[in-house]
């Protein structure tokens, strides 16, 4: 039986390598036919922020890869509303990440779901394995 895997992202990108290397694990995880969810809370919400331009700091912009996750069957990206609000952000500050739903005539649907802290706690509790970054 497939297990539920949660990738818990609580750190901003670029300041440390965790966001990038978390994404690298997620891409590999897609091949294992397990149930994969990504959680973005605390500073982690910045990982999927719009307009990332790290050129001048000398790093590669890896944020477009989040848009490709749908092609790997990874369609559950949970973002915590309270974490956004605390940082002066709204959902409009996030990349519009979508996937094509093959069970619904390949209609484009949003992968990002902004949820409350209470809902996030519930999602955490449903997991079998949580990888923290």
């Amino acid at each position: 039986m497939a297990k539920k895997f949660l990738y818990l992202n609580r750190k901003a990108p670029y300041g440390t390598v965790y966001a990038l290397e978390s994404l690298e694990v997620v891409l590999i995880a897609a091949a294992f036919e397990q149930e994969v969810s990504l959680a973005f809370l605390d500073d982690g919400v910045y990982q999927i922020a719009k307009g990332q331009t790290p050129k001048a700091v000398g790093m590669k912009n890896f944020s477009p890869t989040y848009n490709a996750l749908g092609d790997y069957g990874i369609t559950k990206l949970y973002v915590e509303r309270e974490s956004l609000v605390e940082r002066g952000l709204t959902e409009d500050d996030l990349m519009p990440i979508v996937y094509e739903d093959e069970d619904d005539d390949y209609t484009e649907k949003p992968s990002v779901q902004v949820i409350s802290r209470t809902e996030m706690a519930k999602i955490m509790a449903e997991q079998d394995v949580t990888f923290s970054f």
Binding site: F5, E24, I28, F131
Partner: protein, 130 residues
């Protein structure tokens, strides 16, 4: 109970390698099985054999190697993280055209799939990091 342990920080800089080592020892003493220890991020640096800490300090890399030998542990270093940070076994060094390898005994270099597989196969997955 069957465990997979993930170690995300290098030795000495952060306590996570020490904590993981103590946890693994305690789990083994209680008769649990350590299915795999997976080293990721700077955690790959736990697998170098070229560390020479002062004599009065602990030797973390050696302690992992010795524990692996004694209990047959599977110590896996993530290849992608290792390539970034210069951790090489002989075959990988050869493949990259490098003239030296530095992996400690008891460790092996493999892919991230080994981490996912550990999560699938184990009853518990515990992450140590920063």
């Amino acid at each position: 109970m069957k465990y997979t342990i993930m170690v995300n920080e290098g030795p000495y800089q952060h306590q996570s390698s020490d904590s993981a080592l103590q946890f693994v020892r305690a789990a083994l003493e209680k008769g649990h099985e350590i299915f795999r220890v997976f080293f990721y991020h700077d955690g790959v640096n736990n697998g170098t054999r070229l560390a020479v800490p002062p004599k009065d300090d602990r030797m973390l890399q050696k302690e992992w190697s010795e524990l692996a030998e004694k209990h047959g542990l599977d110590l896996v270093i993530c290849i992608a993280a290792a390539q970034r940070r210069g951790l090489m076994d002989a075959s990988e060094a050869k493949r990259q055209g490098l003239n030296a390898d530095n992996i400690a005994s008891g460790f092996r270099i493999s892919g991230l799939g080994q981490l996912i597989d550990g999560g699938i196969e184990s009853d518990r997955t515990i992450v140590f990091g920063d």
